[in-house]
């Protein structure tokens, strides 16, 4: 019977479909879905080590009375609020200049500016730590040029330690974002720029009124992924500050605090899981923002 045969084919097709995706789904279920639900469950428990008791929303209440958590939250927010706009602007400017084929050595410049993306987060953090020591190469250069009169305490003063973290992330990720803009710019019709040039529109105005609006979707996308990345900041601060987030918790991020609560001291699994959900909520909000903005476009 024809109908029976199609039914069999359909089943065969369906079975194959499931077989191809099964290994991934299984792994995702065990190593992603289960842990994220388990974290939520744990966040209702308090106690140290394996001795835990149900605490309801006790952990959430504890958050607002925990100065270290509030500091880590403030630091994390400060990092992305200050760093992401600086980096995105820099990346845009670099991409706009690098899109000019008439300049010489463009290939070299592109590769050079992209190179930091290849460095491992640990390796570059360690390099930055050595470069920014009190008598280090950066302070020597600043003193020699006369920009400062006394060496800056990059690793010892709370304000400058934050600046150092921001400088470091900007170094590592500007080229990464630039590549996205460069790829998008190459899809823009060059004649728009030619026309604007003939009309006497200056370069800065071409950048502000043509380049930036044309790249709006990519800018939004990279802003969101950079922000999500910065919310989860860990490797850099851990390796710049020997895992302490110092000086005086000035560079302590939420991820580092969770790590310390779980693996440095007597573990507070429940409370640490609650803090991890603060990150989940922040990331989820940003992702929905991205989703809605993307939907508006289409």
């Amino acid at each position: 019977m024809a109908a029976g045969k199609t039914g069999g084919l359909k089943r065969y097709y369906d079975l194959n479909g499931w077989l191809f995706v099964a290994p991934s789904l299984l792994l995702i279920a065990i190593f992603l879905v289960y842990p994220i639900l388990r974290s939520l469950y744990l966040s209702f428990f308090s106690g140290k080590g394996m001795i835990m008791k149900f605490a309801g929303f006790g952990n959430v209440a504890r958050l607002w009375n925990d100065p270290v958590f509030l500091q880590a939250l403030t630091n994390t927010v400060t990092f992305f609020v200050v760093q992401v706009p600086i980096m995105i602007t820099l990346a845009l400017m670099l991409a706009a200049v690098l899109n000019n084929d008439k300049l010489k050595f463009i290939g070299f410049f592109r590769t050079a500016i992209f190179l930091p993306c290849v460095a491992s987060l640990v390796a570059y953090s360690v390099l930055f730590k050595s470069m920014f020591s009190v008598d280090g190469v950066v302070n020597s250069a600043l003193l020699a040029v006369g920009l400062v009169s006394t060496p800056i305490g990059w690793l010892t003063e709370p304000f400058w330690a934050k600046v150092l973290v921001i400088l470091a992330i900007t170094w590592r990720w500007t080229g990464y974002n630039m590549i996205f803009y460069l790829a998008a710019l190459q899809n823009i019709d060059k004649s728009i720029y030619e026309a604007a040039k003939i009309d006497g529109v200056p370069a800065w105005a071409r950048f502000v009124y043509i380049t930036v609006p044309m790249l709006k979707p990519v800018i939004l996308f990279t802003t969101i992924i950079s922000t999500i990345g910065t919310i989860q900041l860990f490797d850099e601060v851990y390796n710049l500050t020997e895992g302490r987030g110092g000086p005086a918790n000035a560079t302590l991020t939420l991820s580092l605090y969770i790590y310390n609560l779980t693996f440095r001291f007597m573990p507070s699994f429940g409370y640490a899981a609650t803090i991890s959900y603060v990150i989940v909520i922040m990331v989820a909000l940003l992702s929905f923002l991205q989703f809605y903005a993307a939907r508006d476009r289409s």
Binding site: G17, P35, L103, A141, G175, S255, V283
Partner: protein, 271 residues
């Protein structure tokens, strides 16, 4: 060339040259510093020194280099291969065998992209501790294999795969897994290469999860070794520099050999 145009061009060169210099400087610093003593490094010496041989010798006495390199290579290569096999199967499956149920599940898979690792690490650690997998390389690899990014990347790339090829193979009597293995994989090799580069880099540089799971010197990867050398109370930066060079060299090499695939993979996997 008129004067404003000349200044504008000059300004662009100055901007690019400054950015390029700042981007490359830490790499140059790493190489120069590997020839200097720790004291010279933290006092900002920019000249080439004579301590290179001493630093290398000290690094080799403090670190079991072949073992650490073997650990890193084993974990990165195996995890990368597994990720690519599993994810390309899924990307192919989701695109070639479309159904309502699978499309819904795919949307859920994409949703896992926004799960931060911080919210996974505690349950994952407890899971590994219960299974007796703490301090093993399997524990490092398992959670990294299923990657929504790479599944997405393969699904997007599969859209360009010609279904005529598949139909012809079907007529020839090939089974679905044979079509995948003998037709899809060879046709998509540039997609595979790009995915390999990007996943290898991620695995080689992986830090937080190995930091939690690997607790003995016998299992540590190069990233962990560099980190622990540098977080000593008085780190020997000469030795640390040798470590950073060894940690960076493989990814630099992969980057220069496969720059095109690298950029393609980076743009593709997050688009």
């Amino acid at each position: 060339m008129n004067a404003p145009r000349f200044f504008s061009t000059a300004l662009q060169y100055v901007f690019l040259a400054t950015a390029a210099f700042l981007s490359i400087f830490p790499f140059i610093w790493m190489v120069i510093s590997s020839t200097n003593t720790s004291i010279d490094i933290i006092s900002g010496r920019t000249g080439i020194g004579e301590a290179f041989a001493t630093n290398v010798a000290n690094f080799f006495t403090q670190v079991d280099v072949p073992l650490v390199f073997w650990n890193s290579t084993k974990v990165a290569v195996l995890a990368t291969l597994l990720t690519i096999v599993v994810s390309s199967l899924a990307g192919y499956g989701f695109e070639m065998f479309r159904s309502k149920a699978r499309d819904r599940i795919y949307a859920l898979v994409l949703l896992t992209l926004m799960v931060p690792f911080a919210a996974l690490m505690i349950p994952l650690f407890m899971m590994m501790a219960k299974s007796g997998l703490i301090n093993t390389h399997i524990a490092i690899m398992l959670p990294t294999i299923a990657s929504a990014f790479i599944i997405f990347y393969f699904r997007q790339s599969t859209k360009a795969f010609q279904t005529e090829l598949r139909d012809a193979a079907k007529v020839d009597g090939l089974k679905e897994w044979q079509i995948f293995l003998y037709i899809y994989v060879p046709v998509m090799r540039s997609t595979y290469a790009a995915a390999f580069v990007i996943v290898f880099m991620t695995n080689w540089n992986n830090y937080l999860w190995p930091l939690i799971v690997l607790q003995s010197n016998e299992t540590k990867t190069i990233t962990l070794v560099v980190s622990s050398l540098a977080s000593a109370y008085y780190p020997d930066y000469g030795v640390v520099m040798i470590g950073t060079i060894l940690a960076t060299l493989p990814t630099l090499l992969v980057f220069f050999v496969m720059q095109r695939q690298f950029v393609q993979g980076m743009l593709g996997s997050v688009k």
